[in-house]
Amino acid sequence: MAEIVIKNVAKSFGSFQALHSIDLTIRDQEFMVLLGASGCGKTTLLRIIAGLEQASQGEVWIGGRRVDTLPPRGRGIAMVFQNYAVFPHLTVFENIAFGLRMKKLPQAEIDRRVNRTAELMQIGQLLKRYSGQLSGGQRQRVAVARALAMEPDVILMDEPLSNLDALLRLEMRAELKGVLAESKTTTIYVTHDQVEAMSLADRISVMNAGRIVQAATPIEVYRNPATRFVGSFIGNPPMNFLPAAKNGSGKWRVAGVSFDGPDASRDILEFAIRPEDLDIGPGGLAATVRLVEPLGAHILLSCKVGGAPFRAVVDSELNVSPGDTLSLVPKPGRARWFDPETGAAI
């Protein structure tokens, strides 16, 4: 049982505030992804949980034990690094056995665990090799096997797939998900790749400028972004935003069209809609098509609505060419509204 509780953790490097008062609870056996652009503090947070970095303030609890004063070896964690960190002077077998030998386990148990995890990561035939004789993907497998062999309470992964090529990344992603679900460990996984985050996570914590902006299931983060930042960061192509002016109680005027919206006290809001949540129909937003990009099943249209850039994904059976004007109607219940000053969802 290893629930991770992070209480009021902050970190500054000199005058630079890398993390602002983070509170986060990761449930036992949960797969939590920390997602954010580079420099948002996600790796710093992971390293504080690992004990490789000292928090400026706050507490870290793992499995009911306060660990923030303990060194990494006392925290019951295992970590997979972005550049694999496979020991070059040891064979694959000795790499996987490294932590087990530090625990002074009997040789038979070491053999059993190394062989089992190597089998699991499909590197059983590489045990006698050195890291210099392995490909990037194989090194990554060794690094994961080494972490799994520790049978830790928590596995921490720092962008483990970002150094692999696209095809290998896809393959490893699916494999990791299976292996980690089976191992029943709590996992924290840092990435800047939203597709990776979506496909792996039980919950995603979206981070921006040293804060956790939203921590929720992938679908929740996608459908109901807590802030404008989350909406614009997640989704490809990103969410469309248009200014909305108050037009009576609960009525908002967006690019000349009146929509039902929230009953807010402000006069100006931001109207947001995902490109795939648009239908062609009467009485919608008048969009002038500028660019047509067929993607197979769908067409990506880059348009202008009231002078602002606007993207729509429509069915590829639609016959459309640049210069056409379409009427785009938001699917019911899919429009979102944000406060233009705070960026918070309304």
């Binding site: 060194p71 070896r73 972005q82 020991f87 002077h89 530090m102």
Partner: protein
């Protein structure tokens, strides 16, 4: 159009071949500069004493060990040789013992004054030894370190230390810090991670920088000549006897000094290049 381009190309080829000739000539001059004295040293060492002082020269060694045996049997040579080895080994131990931790600290930790420290390490070589020799000799006589092997080894350590620090700094910087961090997460404390992961990876380089420290001490003559009287090292001994000894003794002594240096430096040349790579930054 094509004609112009043609002459242009021709000229470029000409310039390039001239450049190549200059480069080749420089290489030849440098090689001759270094190799001819060494060759003469060998020829004369491996010739009989009569041949060394005789004329005309053949230029080919006769592989007569007369000069060498004379040198080895010369009074005081073996003692001086032993002193040289002891002082060099002490220098090696001291400079790695002090230099490697400094190199590790420079590569792994950020501390105030780090850049100044790096500069100071190199600056120790900026003070000419003759300038320091007199005060040092006085200090050594006061503390009883004069004419001892450890006293000389301390001075040689000062000379070797900048290189030890720079070489080990570049060695440790070449080991990704993630390897150490991985070891920490796998159950090691700092020392265990260093011993099980970093040390095996840097050991060849550490040996190389130790050898380099050995050579610096082995070849050092000024401090040795000033600070020792009875416990002379080979270099100091030969300098002392330079005017009064026969030619073949000088050649044999020279060879005895040069050969270990040549062999060791050749063995560790790869690591010395690494050091200059860092030092030039």
């Amino acid at each position: 159009m094509t004609a112009v381009a043609g002459t242009d190309t021709a000229r470029r080829v000409e310039v390039r071949s001239a450049g190549r000739f200059l480069f080749g000539a420089a290489v030849v001059v440098l090689c001759v500069w270094v190799l001819v004295p060494i060759y003469l040293l060998f020829v004369n060492t491996l010739s009989s004493p009569q041949e060394v002082s005789g004329f005309p020269k053949t230029g080919i060694p006769s592989f007569d060990f007369g000069s060498i045996s004379f040198f080895l049997n010369f009074a005081g040579v073996l003692d001086a040789l032993l002193n040289s080895i002891i002082v060099a080994v002490l220098t090696m131990i001291l400079s790695i013992g002090i230099g490697a931790p400094a190199g590790y600290a420079l590569s792994r930790f950020d501390f105030p004054g780090k850049e100044a420290f790096r500069l100071l390490v190199v600056m120790t070589r900026a003070f000419p030894l003759p300038l320091l020799a007199l005060p040092l000799a006085v200090l050594f006589i006061r503390t009883g370190l004069d004419d001892t092997q450890i006293g000389l080894a301390i001075v040689h350590t000062v000379l070797a230390l900048p290189f030890a620090v720079l070489i080990t700094f570049s060695l440790f910087s070449g080991i990704p810090v993630e390897l150490e961090e991985a070891a920490w997460t796998l159950g090691c404390n700092r020392w265990q991670a260093f011993r099980k992961v970093v040390l095996p990876l840097v050991l060849p380089g550490i040996v190389a920088s130790a050898v380099f420290a050995f050579i610096i001490s082995w070849n050092e003559v000024f401090a040795a000549a000033v600070l020792t009287i009875h416990n002379r090292t080979l270099t100091a001994f030969l300098v002392q006897n330079l005017n009064v000894s026969p030619l073949h003794l000088k050649f044999a002594g020279g060879a005895a000094l040069v050969i270990p240096a040549l062999i060791f430096i050749f063995a560790v040349r790869r690591y010395l290049f690494a050091m200059w790579g860092i030092a030039n930054r």
